[in-house]
């Protein structure tokens, strides 16, 4: 099983380089290659998740070099949880883009860049080496710079340049942090760093410095509030699949997963760091909610809503109890599904204005919005409830109060955004001349995501998914026990 981990990176890379070879000859082949590549890795990540859900740790040594010399790929429950979410969302988005992307020229570039993003994201999730993590982070980021500029409009170039500059500076901070860390512990393996830090007597100031660098770097990728300004701009002018990927996958994987993995498992969570996380989380929640109110563009509104919801996830990470982490990881799942669903709805309406009030669009958008607002039967309700209860349990009454208030805010601005779609009496917009109605794949994609976003509360009942979630939480709770798990599986 461990030998299969490498194919999570190899398959999308191979697809990314095969697609340009068929670019002009066979357009359908590009779609088929992309779809097949994502399908393979989704199946693979589900298989790996089923295998590791009981707390196993899979290790693969690249090139058969043993760990202090070579790079290791480590998959535990946390990686598998994120792998399943990101690859499934990507599968649905590729399915959707088969008909969505037709209005652009050079569609093969879109598919090729998507596959690059997938390989970068999977690489970040499976790697056990901190410099390798930086390399995959850059691969995913560079592909996304190009994707944000894909609209070829004035505004999209501006937004892409803004994001590219900010994100590159953030990556440079991450690289500086890695360099400082390497000069301190003389190893790049994350498990090795964790055990070296526990062995050292005094590691306070260096770790504080590196933590701040990582908070800046990964915090920008996660769009936490002082570093958030790229996100609404970048989302407002690009093909609708790109914000769906960015909001559904990238800010979770490149920001939340990396910070969680490094702060919890490599450094061991310090109380001071968790206070910083709580402060950033509250700022993100409140400012994202307030800014979303003033928006007239629905894409920017959804962008600010993403910032607000990322605040909830970091709130859970900052509280750091077992219940809070269950809520936080579950909220990652809910927000990935619902927010990508809403962006796909936006793309659907922009393409087919006559579809806005049809049930297939209106009800799926309602399901997504309900899940993000936290209306009871949906998954988002349970995750927010768990986070708020965990805050009260840990004694943070004020934080729980803020979370509730922001949740009410969320309902208010989503209600404002959805009212014209659902309740206005006006005539439905005219279909574009020559439009042939909604393609099957787009409708299927949004319905699939809507069903999951409503029914994802099932994860909390005892079953395989729940075992995976609990395993992921145990990895985070275990702290630097990650080192012994990753090292122990080697022997």
């Amino acid at each position: 099983m461990a030998d299969l981990i490498q194919y999570l990176i190899i398959v999308p890379l191979a697809a990314a380089f095969l697609i340009p070879l068929f670019a002009k000859k066979a357009r359908w082949l590009c779609q088929v290659l992309a779809q097949a590549g994502v399908l393979i890795i989704t199946a693979l990540s589900f298989a790996i998740a089923l295998y590791v859900k009981d707390g196993l740790t899979l290790i693969y040594n690249v090139g058969r070099w043993p760990v202090p010399t070579g790079i290791s790929l480590v998959v535990d429950s946390l990686s598998a949880f994120m792998l399943v979410i990101s690859n499934f969302v990507m599968l649905v988005i590729v399915l959707y883009s088969n008909s969505y992307i037709k209005k652009y020229s050079d569609t093969w570039k879109h598919y090729s860049l998507l596959m690059m993003v997938v390989s970068g994201v999977n690489g970040v999730l499976v790697t056990g080496d901190i410099f390798n993590l930086y390399v995959f982070l850059e691969i995913a980021s560079i592909a996304v710079y190009a994707l944000f500029a894909f609209g070829l409009r004035k505004e999209s170039f501006e937004a892409a340049f803004k994001y590219a500059v900010m994100s590159t500076v953030a990556s440079t901070f991450v690289l500086l942090g890695i360099a400082v860390l390497y000069s301190y512990v003389s190893t790049l393996n994350m498990a090795g760093i964790a055990s070296a830090l526990t062995a050292k007597e005094q590691s306070g100031s260096v770790i504080k410095f590196v933590t701040v660098l990582f908070l800046m770097g990964f915090g920008l990728k996660a769009a936490l509030v002082p570093f958030h300004s790229w996100l609404p701009d970048a989302y407002s002018e690009s093909p609708a699949t790109v914000p769906a990927i960015s909001s559904g996958i990238l800010i979770k994987v490149l920001g939340v997963y990396t910070l969680g993995r490094i702060l919890f498992n490599v450094f061991g969570m310090q109380p001071a760091v968790s206070h910083i996380l709580l402060a950033l989380a509250v700022m993100s929640m409140v400012l994202g909610g307030i800014m979303a109110f003033g928006q007239t563009n629905v894409r920017r509104l959804l962008g600010y809503s993403s910032i607000s919801q990322i605040g909830y996830i970091f709130l859970a990470l900052g509280v750091g109890t077992k219940l809070a982490l269950v809520g936080g990881l579950f909220h990652i799942l809910n927000h990935s599904i619902s927010k990508s669903l809403l962006f796909l709805n936006v793309g659907l309406v922009e393409d087919h204005p006559d579809m806005a009030k049809k049930p297939v669009n209106a009800f799926t958008a309602l399901a997504g919005a309900m899940s993000i607002c936290g209306v009871p039967p949906t998954g988002g309700f349970w995750s927010k409830l768990i986070i708020i209860i965990a805050c009260i349990e840990a004694g943070h009454i004020a934080l729980a109060f803020i979370a509730v208030v922001v949740s009410i805010f969320t309902i208010a601005y989503y209600f404002r955004a959805l009212t014209p779609v659902l309740f206005s009496q006006g005539k439905a917009a005219e279909a574009r001349p020559g439009a042939k109605g909604m393609p099957f794949s787009m409708g299927f994609a949004v319905i699939l995501l809507a069903v999951i976003s409503v029914a994802s509360g099932v994860v909390l009942m005892p079953n395989a998914a729940n075992a995976l979630l609990t395993g992921a939480v145990n990895i985070l709770i275990g702290g630097t026990g990650y080192a012994s798990a990753a090292m122990g599986a080697l022997r």
């Binding site: 030998d3 380089f17 095969l18 340009p20 670019a23 002009k24 090139g63 058969r64």
Partner: protein, 147 residues
């Protein structure tokens, strides 16, 4: 303009030296395993030789020979061979034809010492020249890529 590109002296010298430049690029990229050099440096020399052709013979002449899909194909083929060779090495022969490549003596040429620098030269050479072409032509016309 009657004559494209530079004067006839420069063109003749370029024709003579071009083969040597490419040979030097191959030497550099194969030398990289034990000495200074490597696929990246060799690839940069290949790309510079293409740029050289473009400057001397004019843009149209160079682009007639090296269309964008040729460059794209070379880059992607190089990357794919690179990926395949790396996969053979990583998985210890657990890919199609992998065992054959690992074991047989006659296929030692497909070893990382020869293949990987050569592929890297291909990728970097074609890729950097493609980027150069893209940056040069970007301001002239949007539709270079869709011939």
């Amino acid at each position: 303009m009657i004559q494209k590109g530079m004067s006839v002296i420069v063109k003749t010298v370029t024709k003579i030296t071009l083969g040597f430049i490419l040979l030097y690029a191959v030497y550099i990229s194969l030398n990289g395993h034990t000495g200074p050099g490597g696929g990246f440096a060799g690839g940069v020399i290949v790309a510079l030789s293409f740029v050289h052709i473009m400057l001397v013979f004019g843009k149209e002449m160079a682009l007639k020979r090296l269309r964008s899909y040729v460059l794209r194909g070379l880059t992607c083929a190089g990357a794919l061979i690179f990926l395949y060779a790396a996969t053979v090495k990583f998985s210890g022969g657990c890919v199609p034809f992998g065992a054959f490549l690992e074991k047989s003596v006659s296929c030692r040429l497909f070893n990382s010492e020869i293949t990987l620098p050569f592929c890297e030269m291909l990728i970097i050479g074609a890729g950097l020249f493609a980027i150069f072409v893209a940056l040069v032509l970007l301001s002239k016309s949007d539709r270079y890529d869709s011939e």
